[in-house]
């Protein structure tokens, strides 16, 4: 079937055909029905995340690679069974416990690894793995993503699928000659009834209703109000100023360039 879709006589430059706007950004999708994408068994999109924007947790039905065209931020891939290795406290340390006690429990957290990224980075996102992104920079993040829907990791049909774990996807606008709108997509939890969700998670009905997010109209990229404190290593915590940090990064890049030049020789 896929081979017959590859009888292409003429190739065309493609531009995004559908746009979905959110509170703090937008996503533009390339036309998956185009024979070029069908032949290659891939889907592609471009996402723009405004400063302070958070791409809500979601996963794809296929492996994906993202190239960061512009901006910087942090992201996390959440793999089931991996340890919550980023911790803001140490159990059993009496000094830490006392300190925590003074500050109250409000600042404690532990979660899986998070990573920084910046312009020029490639980020790998395995199929079925939940991930999120936060823009902690001063300019919008622009990221280009390709999903390999024909890979064996995707056992569904060749359509791209995004499974939201929170929020809800706004109506898509088709760009071009016949502009039209899609219907809304909701998050996975919204498909469970409130009672079952509350009971299985051991939470109140009110909180379960919030998880379902039926009345959440912020979209899939939301604006973070106030600060966004998560546990992550920072060079500045080691007493390094922002200028020194940039200088260190520049030196590392120089070393990397030199290493590559020597390898080429």
């Amino acid at each position: 079937g896929s081979q017959s879709r590859c009888r292409i006589e003429r190739l065309n430059a493609q531009e995004p055909r559908r746009r979905v706007e959110s509170e703090a950004g937008l996503t533009e999708y390339f036309d998956e029905d185009n024979e070029q994408f069908e032949c290659a068994g891939v889907a592609a999109h471009r996402r723009i995340v405004q400063p302070g924007g958070l791409v809500l947790p979601k996963f794809y039905n296929a492996h994906a690679l993202t190239y960061v065209v512009q901006g910087k931020g942090i992201f996390g891939n959440v793999m089931p069974g991996c340890p919550e290795s980023f911790q803001s406290f140490q159990r059993g340390d009496p000094r830490t416990s006392r300190e925590e006690g003074r500050r109250g429990r409000s600042e404690r957290d532990q979660h899986q690894r998070v990573d920084h990224f910046r312009e020029g980075d490639i980020i790998a996102i395995p199929a079925g793995v939940a991930h999120w992104v936060y823009n902690d920079g001063e300019q919008p993040i622009v990221a280009f993503t390709v999903l390999d829907t024909s890979n064996n990791a995707n056992q569904l049909d060749s359509n791209r699928r995004e499974f939201l774990l929170a929020g809800r996807k706004g109506r898509g606008q088709h760009l071009g000659v016949e502009p039209r709108e899609d219907s809304d997509d909701f998050n996975l939890l919204s498909g469970f009834d409130t009672e079952s969700l509350a009971e299985s998670m051991g939470i109140s009905r009110d909180l379960a209703e919030k998880l379902r997010g039926r009345s959440d109209d912020r979209g899939e990229i939301v604006r973070v109000e106030g600060s966004f404190h998560i546990v992550r290593p920072s060079r500045r915590e080691e007493g390094m100023s922002e200028g020194e940090e940039r200088e260190r990064e520049y030196e590392e890049e120089e070393r990397e360039r030199e290493r590559r030049r020597l390898m080429a020789n």
């Binding site: 958070l54 809500l56 947790p57 996963f59 039905n61 996390g76 959440v78 793999m79 089931p80 069974g81 991996c82 919550e84 980023f86 409000s106 957290d109 979660h111 899986q112 998070v114 199929a127 079925g128 793995v129 939940a130 999120w132 936060y134 990791a153 995707n154 056992q155 569904l156 699928r161 995004e162 499974f163 774990l165 929020g167 809800r168 997509d185 909701f186 998050n187 996975l188 939890l189 919204s190 498909g191 469970f192 009834d193 079952s196 969700l197 009971e199 299985s200 998670m201 051991g202 939470i203 909180l207 919030k210 998880l211 997010g213 939301v222 973070v224 109000e225 966004f228 404190h229 998560i230």
Partner: protein, 186 residues
């Protein structure tokens, strides 16, 4: 070569024996997984199997199969199943009884609650190392996410975010009914 590869390879393994359970909670139930690490032939078949037993009103945590479809066949009892697709729509919401089967497509979210004394099933999955991603519990997505992400994603307080992460404590996959959990704590 063929002889070495196939003729002497193990082809069976019991997954009904409770002593072989991989996940066990006396108040909720158990699951036993047979994958290609336990039975290498499954690597060739690209299939694996899960045996599950769930006590009355206990849950299988909301989860999705990351890399496989799951074909669930009920061997005893009945349970309520809810299955959700990528658009957040309920693809199935109903009861599954003995001798009935349902196909749970890859990535679709699934929640099971036993309605009988013992709900028992076997699931054949289309990957020799099928992986499951639970939403709550010890090895869950919620536990791996920073509190700030949960807070902003669901517009909840810090306390509520913490409840989402830790309310199910060390429980994994098979969950005790919440009401009996409260009684236990009391």
């Amino acid at each position: 070569g063929l002889e070495q590869a196939f003729c002497s390879v193990g082809v069976k393994r019991n997954i009904d024996d409770p002593r072989r359970a991989d996940i066990y909670n006396p108040n909720a139930g158990r699951t036993t997984t047979l994958n290609s690490q336990k039975l290498p032939l499954l690597r060739y078949l690209q299939l694996n199997a899960v045996r599950g037993v769930l006590h009355r009103n206990a849950f299988v945590a909301p989860h999705w199969n990351m890399n496989a479809h799951s074909i669930m066949y009920v061997t005893r009892g009945n349970a309520r199943l809810q299955i959700v697709n990528d658009r957040g729509n309920t693809a199935f919401n109903g009861e599954l009884r003995q001798n009935q089967l349902i196909v749970v497509p890859q990535n679709f979210a699934l929640l099971i609650q036993s309605r009988s004394e013992n709900f028992e099933w076997v699931a054949i999955k289309t990957n020799d190392n099928a992986m499951v991603s639970p939403i709550v519990g010890k090895t869950s997505v919620f536990k791996g996410l920073p509190e700030e992400v949960l807070r902003n994603a669901y517009r909840v307080s810090r306390e509520e975010a913490r409840m989402l992460k830790y309310n199910r404590g060390e429980e994994m996959v098979v969950l005790v009914p919440h009401s009996s959990q409260s009684r236990g704590r009391a």
